[in-house]
């Protein structure tokens, strides 16, 4: 028998393969569930030239759905007059826009525009009238924020959809609340202010800019902190824990029991 064949026929070979598979799956899962860094975007003052640039960009990439003058096309894309710069920045900087197909839920895709282009687009849409502006760096900075109030606001207003640690969750009819792991403080602020897609609006009059900062501080603090008890298991609660209890606990102990009661090979 060739050595490899004899290895494969060894009585522990089966266990070894299953074990390797489990370890591999675990490693792959941890790699996928990793935590990304954060980046803050700063708004710059609006110039006439910027608006013109934005208009040109809009006509090329957005007008087919939202109309030549952002007035909206019935059944295809909503009017963008009055949505404000914050909404544009959120939608385009997260890759939700420009969308490929129309629907209630636009899945995030790779971002196609540079930050300058996005700000130009936002400036153009803002020039059409009203709407919240892109928050400044100071407005979203977590420095000096009240974490306790942020925790309370997050758990009463955000966690129901985005989960206790911002891992996201399911909504009705195939919609979902996205994880907050990749969102920049600016995007979180804009999302609260503009209520993209199914998300409700949390305007500055109900949750003040200072309180928004508290929420952002809590979210970014918690998502960036280490997990003192080991791997996080995705921070989605007891479901993955149950899975690990069976795959990493019971299954491993069954292998141990097989080894303990193994009969020696007859020689």
């Amino acid at each position: 028998m060739r050595p490899i064949t004899s290895l494969r026929r060894h009585r522990v070979a089966g266990y070894a393969v299953v074990l390797l598979g489990l370890v591999g799956a675990g490693a792959a899962y941890t790699a996928v569930a990793g935590q990304p860094g954060t980046a803050a975007a700063d708004a710059s003052p609006v110039s006439r030239q910027q608006i013109a640039e934005g208009q040109a960009l809009f006509a090329r990439t957005c007008a087919s759905c939202h109309g030549m003058h952002a007035q909206g096309i019935s059944g295809v894309g909503p009017s963008l007059i009055g949505v404000g710069a914050a909404a544009v920045d959120f939608q385009v900087s997260t890759g939700r826009m420009p969308g490929k197909v129309t629907g209630a839920e636009m899945p995030p895709r790779p971002v196609v525009f540079s930050q300058t282009q996005i700000h130009a687009l936002a400036a153009y849409v803002a020039s059409l009238g009203g709407g919240p502006a892109i928050p400044s760096g100071d407005q979203v900075s977590p420095a000096g924020a009240n974490l306790a109030l942020g925790q309370q606001l997050f758990i009463t207003n955000c966690a129901q959809c985005h989960n206790f640690s911002g891992a996201g969750g399911a909504l009705t009819s195939g919609k979902f609340a996205p994880p907050l792991n990749h969102a920049t403080p600016t995007q979180i602020y804009e999302a609260m202010q503009t209520g993209p897609e199914a998300m409700p609006v949390f305007s500055d009059t109900t949750i003040t800019p200072a309180q928004k900062r508290d929420v952002i501080a809590y979210v970014t603090k918690v998502r960036g902190q280490p997990d003192p008890g080991g791997f996080s298991l995705g921070r989605v609660g007891p479901v993955t824990e149950g899975l690990v209890a069976f795959l990493g606990g019971i299954a491993v102990l069954i292998f141990a029991a097989m080894w303990i009661t193994m009969k020696r090979r007859e020689s």
């Binding site: 925790q151 309370q152 758990i155 918690v222 902190q225 791997f231 298991l233 606990g249 019971i250």
Partner: protein
């Protein structure tokens, strides 16, 4: 030699003079245990329970079961200044201030999951091999009671830290309790000391969790282990193994080494899990707040079936004369687990009644040799599994990108259709395997060597199965027939009359469905009956029959 002897002489005499332990202990040390990995599954449950007692005791030294509100100013800064109960803040302190506290908490929680998981796997092993049969029915019932109590023990422990998830679990428990007809509202007010959440529930659950249920579990587990010892362990069929003996290695030193090693393995695996896999990070959940909720509000896995049943149930209620029957709450709370536990408890007796087999069984069935039982077992697993998965349907919907409502509809249909299909398929597979066994016995193992016969035909040479395999293959013994009418009468036997008798006969036909039992090995008849176990479908020497049994006991 002499050192061992001398060591024993002094202390041994001292103890035996006072305790008379030698003869009993001697029998104990020589007790024979059969060897199979699946016989160690119950030990996972036993040893995780011991680890739960050890780590739980450690936790009680630091945990404050109090719902008094405090403002947190500890080392976990994201919650600095948040108002919370003392129970929650002391759990934070155990995690971040007590050295080894987080490790103990995590071991305790992982051990709880493994305890109940091991009970489930152990019960499946016992069911599918028929180990619950006479004389072990009591132990099966004790096991079912342990299982059901363990679920409550887990739920109450999960509720103690007063974090957002545990408080949500308690709210659900309270909502369901409140829905019970007539007594529900009162039960809820008495348990919680008034309206939810009140200030009493955590101290009350604490005493139940650390004192009352552990004491009951300890007593039941002791009885369970004692009965296992007393009745001697069952064994799988094999060469030299009969219904009247038990073949294996003695307690001392073999079983002691095995079980000791296994205890250390279990502790090591729990320590590993608790080092590398974070469980129940209550600091992320935040303290309980009745107006807050998180996506993915899930219980621990053993409550998943209850959660799934609640999610799956249509919203039926019935209002009669100013009162509400909340079928949407108490039916899912009681019915699915009622079917599993109640059905499990009655099954050994139902099986005895249907088959008329009242004999003692110490040789385990191979699952294929009891196709109906195996089919029903797999159907129950599918039934439970569908409800259990529905308990995580939001996580499933989110990760598989399917609609939440669709998962519920799939579960509603599968929970009824799934078990039926599972039963049918399993039974066919079992019968197919029986056929394969019979073929093996009759024709031996195909060797892959093709020979040409003198007349020119080709045949594949076979070799007979090994003696041990043969003993396994002929272990299917068939069942004794139901009591037949006495030869001189036309009237059916007393136990076979009326509607119940007809039902019994019909069920018996289902249960005894199987291919003709194999009668012998292809290579010679003298081996087939070598162990005094004729393998015919008619009655067995050591299996009592209905008629005989009732005759002798009345």
């Amino acid at each position: 030699m002499s050192t061992t002897e001398k060591a024993l002489e002094g202390t041994g005499r001292f103890l035996d003079d006072r305790l008379h332990g030698a003869s009993g202990l001697n029998r104990f040390l020589r007790k024979i245990f059969p060897d199979h990995w699946s016989f160690l599954l119950g030990e996972i449950a036993l040893y995780t329970f011991i680890i739960l007692l050890l780590t739980g005791t450690f936790l009680t030294l630091f945990f404050q079961p109090s719902m008094t509100e405090v403002t947190y100013h500890g080392v976990y800064t994201p919650l600095d200044g948040v108002r919370m109960s003392e129970a929650y803040s002391s759990t934070l302190n155990i995690s971040f201030d007590v050295r080894g506290g987080l490790l103990m908490r995590q071991i305790h929680h992982w051990a709880a999951l493994l305890f109940i998981g091991a009970i489930m796997v152990h019960m499946l092993r016992v069911f599918f091999t028929g180990a619950y049969r006479k004389p072990r029915e009591f132990n099966w019932l004790i096991g079912i009671i342990i299982f059901s109590i363990a679920i409550f023990e887990g739920l109450f422990g999960y509720s103690l830290p007063d974090d957002l998830l545990s408080g949500t679990g308690l709210k659900i428990t309270q909502g369901v309790l409140e829905s019970f007809p007539i007594v529900g509202t009162y039960l809820s007010f008495f348990l919680f000391g008034g309206q939810f959440p009140g200030h009493d529930i955590i101290p009350r659950l604490y005493v139940i969790h650390v004192l009352i249920i552990p004491a009951v579990l300890l007593a039941l587990i002791a009885a369970h282990v004692f009965l296992t010892f007393h009745l001697k362990h069952t064994q799988f069929p094999g060469k030299g193994r009969t219904n009247a003996n038990v073949v294996g290695a003695p307690m001392y030193p073999y079983f002691m080494a095995k079980t000791g090693a296994f205890f250390f393995f279990i502790f090591a695996v729990l320590a590993l899990l608790s080092t590398f896999a974070q469980i129940n990070p209550i600091w992320l959940f935040g303290p309980y707040n009745p107006s807050a909720i998180t996506a993915g509000s899930q219980p621990d896995f053993y409550m998943g079936a209850l959660e799934g049943a609640l999610r799956m149930m249509p919203n039926w209620v019935w209002n009669v004369a100013g009162h509400t029957f909340a079928f949407n709450e108490f039916i899912p709370a009681l019915l699915p687990l009622g079917i599993i536990f109640g059905g499990g408890a009655m099954w050994p007796f139902i099986e005895q009644w249907v088959t008329g087999d009242r004999g003692e069984h110490h040789i385990l069935d191979r699952p294929r040799n009891a196709p109906t039982r195996t089919g029903i077992g797999v159907a129950a697993v599918v039934f439970y599994g569908v409800i259990w998965l529905e308990g995580a349907n939001d996580v499933i919907a989110n990760h598989l990108d399917i609609s939440l409502f669709l998962t519920t509809w799939i579960a509603r249909i599968t929970v009824i259709v799934g078990p039926i299909i599972a039963y049918w398929v399993t039974k066919r597979v079992c019968l197919g395997l029986q056929r394969k066994d019979a073929h093996l016995l009759e024709h031996g193992i195909e060797t892959g060597i093709i020979r040409q016969l003198p007349n020119g035909a080709y045949v594949e040479a076979t070799r007979p199965v090994s003696e041990n395999d043969e003993a396994v293959l002929i272990s299917r013994t068939g069942l004794p027939p139901l009591p037949a009418p006495a030869a001189d009468e036309e009237v059916p036997a007393k136990s076979m009359r009326g509607g119940m008798g007809r039902m019994r006969l019909a069920l018996n036909r289902v249960v005894t469905e199987g291919i003709a039992a194999p009668t012998g090995n292809g290579h010679g008849e003298e081996h087939a009956n070598g162990h005094g176990e004729p393998a015919a479908i008619s009655g067995q020497g050591d299996q009592g029959r209905d008629g005989q049994d009732s005759g002798s006991s009345s």
